[in-house]
């Protein structure tokens, strides 16, 4: 495949005998690459002549960019592209990966026809990039061992060396990936040589793959005990030592012979050792650096470079040419990581967990076990001692739920399930407590920025960056999207106006790098307009429940009735002995209660006070699973799960959060106006499952197909069990595909309401009611009379 891509890029003769992989090796030397002097300048310099680099070059040139230089330190396709097992698989369990693989597959077929296209790509091999030159946060050129090239864009497709290359700049760029040795076996042909149409086989239980190779087999796998390599960087020793390690390969060989005992007599030809690159979350890395403009990355393919090469190259090329790709690639965006995932030790440990996972069953809500406890709240130990079980987001430990002392959970391995999980009852009691009394959830991981100016600069620039009206009285909190030109959500956040000139912005945890980069890019930051990341300064406690108000008023001696402290309001007040606590009347769940933003040195004090005062109101700790159940049953969509860069406020019923009538311009306004005119093509809806047996049926998790009147209409984006409705609730987008052409048509409220819906969970369809608005009864949280009596009882 690679050579086809290459031959197209290079305008070389038609791929004479390059169709199949083995003979391609001779092809590599035949491909004449330039050995002349480098050009002084180019628009784009791509580092890495593997499948990724060439795919980016190919797509850029197809999109009309002409001035592209591709540099390869060795020979073209000399890294893992050359040695890879050559399997193109289109069976992927994740949406965006599936799309990339499908496209790649089509592209590779199409490439057979496509030859002799005039491209503007110049290829130089045996040229290594020393570092990228950067001025004022922008790429200005590339320093190679053969001289400098001035350029506007740099693309790091350096595969396993991408991490080192990223760090080699004056302004280091964190590209968290790490190589592991990877082995596969080549044999001589079978007695009756295998045909080229022999299917590829993956035996996930045996951790191996097998394919035809010149009539014999090629078989490798992803072992349980990977050998990470190049942790300290590139060194000759490890390159020299990249040799066959038969002892290490034994378990994979044994599982091959267990699956196919007749292969016993097959003659060995070679055991190939070809390092593969893995990332901390098993998904590839692409996009623009958050710190350097014009520095793009495409690497970390987790052993699927060939499958994704075409699609990934296309998305990155679109990103460079149009400013954003045609699909939502947030899950692959370099900006989902920060410098915090860039420690060599972290990467070494994490990839040892990631590589075996490739062939393991991916169960929902899986947490990595390595590289944990990096960022923690000051309350971590306290909560841990009370039975907290933890999940990690962007390096931050967050409590999932609290295991009561008398309760045992299943061992890690046994807890893996697609059915009702073992934490069901625990979360139920936490949810109940949120509904009836009060719970405290440590939510310190949320990203927190402060924007301050000397004059009106903060308000003015935020008004342009955010879709909702931020010109609100001091103390008000606004839910708003941060949209892109297409009106899609780059971020969904809550912003509190602290005073005339400063704002406090709360975003999802994994927005820390992305949001920061976006704001930096779009704001004229100077001494008059300051942006500060204060995530680390505050511990956030979420007091959820009808009695939260009682706890807080007892601790503050301040009136907290709805008259004094209406919903979505922010006040600085004292809590216990601690002064200057930022209290906000919101809980991210639609339940009554307060978020407390506490300067970290007061965290333990405030927590202790809350817990001791809260005792008589029945306070207890709760975790994110309870929060999730509460928010999803109330139709609260979350950025990163339900919302992404391609969904607009109008598509999820949030027109009221857009300042259309203000006459102010903001990013995405034109697109939204047009959408308001033309109607939306998808609409977020909430589905309540009707005939689903929580105990016995498989649970919906996310990604389940939605059927409207028997026709496919979209996929769910998140789901949770609502302990109040005693039903499963799913959120998902409904599309209106034309029955004849499959084309997308406008989706109206009427269209949603008039359908009969089913959610397909692993092949079984369950009836569901679609709703565009939350269930009203969930919002009636008037304090009932018996509550008062109950509290009196507790008071005694």
């Amino acid at each position: 495949m690679f050579y086809r891509l290459l031959s197209v890029v290079q305008r070389q003769r038609t791929s004479r005998g390059w169709q199949n992989w083995p003979s391609a090796r001779s092809g590599a030397s035949a491909a004449e690459a330039h050995s002349v002097a480098l050009p002084a300048q180019a628009q784009v310099v791509i580092c890495g002549g593997g499948i990724m680099g060439t795919s980016v070059a190919y797509h850029l040139s197809k999109m009309g960019w002409k001035d592209i230089v591709l540099l390869e330190q060795g020979r073209l396709a000399a890294g893992s592209t050359r040695f890879c097992a050559g399997i193109i698989s289109t069976a992927r369990h994740l949406g965006i990966e599936q799309k990339m693989a499908d496209y790649s597959n089509k592209l590779y077929q199409q490439l057979e026809q496509e030859t002799g296209i005039q491209t503007g790509v110049q290829i130089y091999d045996r040229t290594s990039v020393v570092h990228v030159m950067i001025k004022k946060g922008e790429v200005t050129g590339v320093e190679t061992d053969k001289g400098q090239i001035e350029c506007q864009y740099f693309v790091n497709c350096a595969g396993q060396w991408a991490y080192e290359l990223g760090l080699s700049n004056e302004e280091p760029i964190s590209i968290p990936l790490h190589a592991c040795e990877h082995f596969y076996l080549l044999t001589r042909p079978l007695e009756t040589p295998l045909q080229s149409n022999t299917p590829n086989i993956v035996d996930a239980d045996g951790r191996i793959y097998i394919r035809n190779w010149q009539g014999g087999i090629l078989s490798g796998g992803f072992e349980k005990t990977p050998k990470p390599i190049f942790t300290e960087g590139k060194n000759q020793l490890e390159i020299h030592n990249l040799q066959e390690d038969w002892d290490h390969f034994e378990p994979l060989l044994s599982s091959l012979l267990r699956r196919m005992p007749d292969l016993e007599t097959l003659e060995i030809m070679k055991l190939v050792n070809c390092p593969e690159t893995f990332t901390p979350d098993m998904r590839c890395i692409m996009g623009e650096s958050p710190v350097v403009k014009g520095y793009f990355v495409l690497a970390g393919m987790n052993s699927a470079g060939l499958s994704f090469g075409g699609g990934a190259g296309r998305y990155l090329a679109e990103w460079m040419v149009h400013g954003y790709p045609s699909e939502n690639v947030w899950e692959l965006d370099l900006k989902r990581f920060g410098a915090l995932q860039s420690s060599r030790t972290f990467l070494r440990h994490r990839v040892m967990e990631v590589m075996p996972l490739l062939y393991e069953l991916k169960v929902p809500r899986w947490d990595f076990q390595t590289g944990r406890q990096l960022r923690t709240s000051p309350l971590y130990d306290r909560l841990d001692a009370q039975g907290a079980r933890w999940m990690e987001k962007h390096g931050f430990e967050r409590p999932k739920y609290f295991v009561p002392p008398d309760k045992d959970l299943l061992a890690l391995e046994q807890s893996k399930t697609f059915y009702k999980p073992d934490w069901f009852d625990i979360v139920e009691s936490e949810v109940k407590c949120c509904k009836e009394a009060v719970c405290v959830i440590d939510m310190s991981s949320f990203t927190k920025f402060e924007i301050t100016s000397t004059g009106d600069q903060a308000l003015e620039s935020l008004q342009y960056l955010f879709s909702n009206d931020l010109d609100v009285p001091v103390g008000h909190i606004v839910h708003t999207g941060m949209l892109n030109e297409g009106g899609g959500y780059e971020n969904d956040c809550s912003i509190a106006r602290l005073n005339k000139r400063s704002f406090f912005m709360i975003s999802p945890t994994d927005q820390q790098v992305h949001s920061w980069a976006w704001l930096k890019k779009h704001m004229q930051l100077d001494s008059n307009l300051l942006l500060e990341d204060v995530t680390w300064k505050y511990t956030a406690l979420n007091l959820i429940g009808p009695r939260a108000v009682d706890v807080l008023s007892e601790l503050s001696y301040a009136p907290i009735t709805p008259d004094h402290f209406p919903s979505l309001f922010c006040k600085e007040m004292s809590v216990g002995y601690a002064n200057g606590i930022r209290v906000m009347s919101m809980t991210h769940t639609g339940e009554p209660g307060f978020m407390l933003y506490i300067p970290i040195e007061y965290a333990l004090h405030v927590y202790n006070e809350v817990m001791s005062v809260g005792q008589k109101y029945g306070i207890r700790n709760a975790g994110y699973y309870a929060l999730r159940s509460l928010r999803i049953e109330k139709f609260f969509a979350f950025w990163g799960q339900d919302l992404n860069t391609l969904t607009t406020p109008l598509e999820c019923g949030r027109e009221s959060r857009v300042k259309f009538e203000k006459g102010l311009d903001f990013i995405g306004r034109d697109a939204l106006l047009q959408q308001r005119q033309n109607g939306v093509y998808k609409r977020l809806a909430m589905f309540v499952l009707d005939d689903h047996d929580t105990d016995l049926d498989l649970w919906p998790w996310w990604g389940e197909p939605i059927y409207r009147n028997g026709l496919y209409a979209g996929k769910t984006t998140s789901s949770a069990y609502s302990y109040t409705l005693e039903r499963h609730v799913c959120l998902g987008f409904v599309h209106n595909f034309s029955e004849d052409t499959g084309e997308e048509q406008v989706v109206t409220a009427d269209f949603i309401n008039r359908g009969e819906y089913e959610i397909d969970i692993a092949g079984q369809r369950f009836q569901a009611k679609a709703r565009l608005y939350p269930v009203a009864s969930l919002y009636t949280h008037k304090r009932r009379k018996e509550d008062v009596e109950l509290s009196d009882l507790h008071g005694k």
Partner: protein
């Protein structure tokens, strides 16, 4: 505290294990009781002893330690895993990273290990790269009469070498930084084993002396600094003279004074290799040894010694000694194959008992040191007429590395006492090819998948797949575990490792080994570039 048999044997006790053993026992008891009574005064000294003993603690974890008693269980058996654990505790290995730009380093990696016989161990080792000039330094230091001198030399010598190599400009920057109390340029980057005694960052006194040295270098007005040969030569001698002078000068601080005394009155031999590209220099003073493993074009391996042992079996050394002292001393200068009948190596750092005049020794010691508490060996050898008898002047060998030079072995005499050069090369070569045993060539290995699987399962069952990763460990394993026919004898190995602390030194010396592997490709490339 422990008396290393090969060096400080007293005439009366020599050859008499029983006496010696008793003596040792008595001696350790004295030490412990004294330490108790003078805890406050010498707490620091005993602390250093403890701090400086990690290798000993590593190599012989408490569980395996035995104090000799008749009824003691001598049949304590170590499992193969425990044997490996003991042997591998002192392992260290570093890969040398390629520079971001420029040619890959001529050194691929090094592997090192240390096994103690003395308690605490008296050998030291060091590996560091010079940060202001090019080059890596590897050193093995074999202490005697205590570990203080070896410790000091291992901490300080590389700094002297690094400073000697600096250009005038760099030295000026250093001096400027010192003068204006600014942070200095970093001089060395150490590559240490976590169990290696903590190198004290150049303490202020040491730094002052280093500074005096570079000030003198500055006064020489040499733009490029010394060449490597001169640098090594001067550094050895300069450090030894500083060690000697430090204790003669009045020192205010009692801790520093006691330490300086311990350093000066104990001794250490040293062997240091400096590698910069294809330029290999080895400086040696004493009986540590450095050899090269060479693979000729025909595939045959041979050994190229890079040092001569400075001891009584070295005719050149004997002639030198005779030349340096009056004819009247010809018979007494070396007796019983020892310098003045006392010391086996005839070059060493420290050992001022063999360097100073009697008067000087007396006047220094009369300044009120508690020599016993400080474990100072105070004596005047017989026939002590024309000191100094001992020098730290190194013998320096230059070798331009060739692609056929594959590895360098530096080791203390604990290894060379048992294995000869050829054995060592053979063992390292075996180690290398064994590492490649994962890669048998097509002709020899099982031809089909089934046979291969059988072989692999067999290897797994035998535990063959976890051989020593470290060549130094392999050398030590063979040094102490080989029987008289040169074959590996697991029982002997276990027995040697379970020897009680007090006895271990009868049967083996501290062993320190560092194996440095060269990158033939980059040496070849260097050659071609000229």
């Amino acid at each position: 505290m422990s008396s290393p048999v090969s060096y400080w044997i007293l005439n009366s006790a020599r050859n008499s294990i029983a006496t010696l053993q008793g003596g040792r026992h008595l001696y350790s008891r004295c030490v412990s009781s004294r330490n108790k009574s003078k805890r406050t005064l010498f707490s620091w000294a005993s602390n250093t002893l403890r701090n400086n003993a990690p290798c000993g603690d590593f190599a012989l974890p408490k569980a395996y330690r035995h104090t000799w008693t008749e009824e003691d269980d001598l049949h304590l058996q170590l499992s193969p895993e425990q044997v490996n654990e003991v042997l591998r505790a002192g392992e260290s290995a570093h890969k040398i990273l390629d520079p971001v730009s420029g040619a890959p380093s001529s050194v691929l990696r090094f592997e090192s290990n240390q096994l103690a016989a003395n308690s605490p161990v008296e050998d030291r080792r060091g590996v560091a790269s010079c940060l202001q000039t090019n080059g890596l330094m590897f050193g093995v230091f074999d202490g005697h009469g205590g570990h203080a001198c070896a410790q000091a030399v291992s901490e300080r010598l590389f700094y002297y070498v690094a400073v000697s190599l600096m250009s005038q400009q760099t030295l000026e920057q250093m001096e400027e930084a010192m003068e204006s109390m600014k942070p200095m340029l970093p001089i060395l980057q150490w590559l240490k084993h976590p169990g290696d005694s903590i190198y004290k960052d150049v303490t202020s006194v040491h730094l002052d002396h280093l500074r005096v040295y570079w000030q003198e270098l500055l006064d020489l007005h040499m733009e490029m600094g010394l060449n490597i040969k001169e640098a090594l030569m001067y550094s050895f001698q300069r450090l030894d003279s500083d060690i000697s002078l430090e204790i003669q000068a009045p020192l205010e601080d009692e801790m520093t004074r006691n330490l300086s005394l311990q350093v000066a009155f104990s001794g250490a031999t040293a062997c240091v290799a400096h590698v910069d590209g294809v330029h290999l220099h080895v400086a040696n003073a004493g009986d540590c040894r450095a050899i090269l493993g060479v693979q000729e074009d025909n595939g045959m391996w041979s050994c190229l010694p890079l040092t001569c042992d400075h001891n009584a079996w070295n005719q050149a050394e004997l002639s030198r000694l005779k030349r340096e002292h009056p004819e009247s001393e010809d018979r007494t200068i070396v007796m019983d194959d020892r310098l003045l009948g006392i010391l086996m190596p005839c070059r060493a750092f420290g050992d001022v008992q063999l360097k100073w005049s009697k008067e000087l020794q007396r006047s220094v010691l009369e300044r009120g040191f508690d020599t016993e508490a400080l474990n100072i060996y105070q004596f005047t050898p017989q026939h002590y007429y024309t000191p100094p008898y001992l020098t730290a002047e190194p013998e320096i060998t230059y070798h331009r590395l060739r692609p056929q030079d594959k590895f360098l072995v530096l080791a203390s005499d604990g290894l060379w006492d048992i294995l000869d050069n050829e054995d060592v090369v053979r063992l390292v070569v075996e180690h290398l090819s064994e590492a490649g045993r994962h890669k048998p060539d097509l002709a020899q290995r099982p031809a089909n998948l089934g046979l291969m699987q059988n072989l692999l399962l067999q290897r797994k069952a035998q535990g063959l797949h976890v051989a020593d990763q470290n060549a130094a460990t392999r050398l030590i394993r063979h040094a102490i575990g080989s029987n008289e026919y040169g074959e590996m004898d697991p029982e002997r190995l276990t027995a040697m490792l379970t020897l009680p602390e007090d006895l271990a030194r009868m049967y083996r010396d501290d062993i320190t080994v560092t194996v440095v592997y060269f990158n033939s490709d980059s040496i070849d490339a260097y050659d071609k570039r000229g």
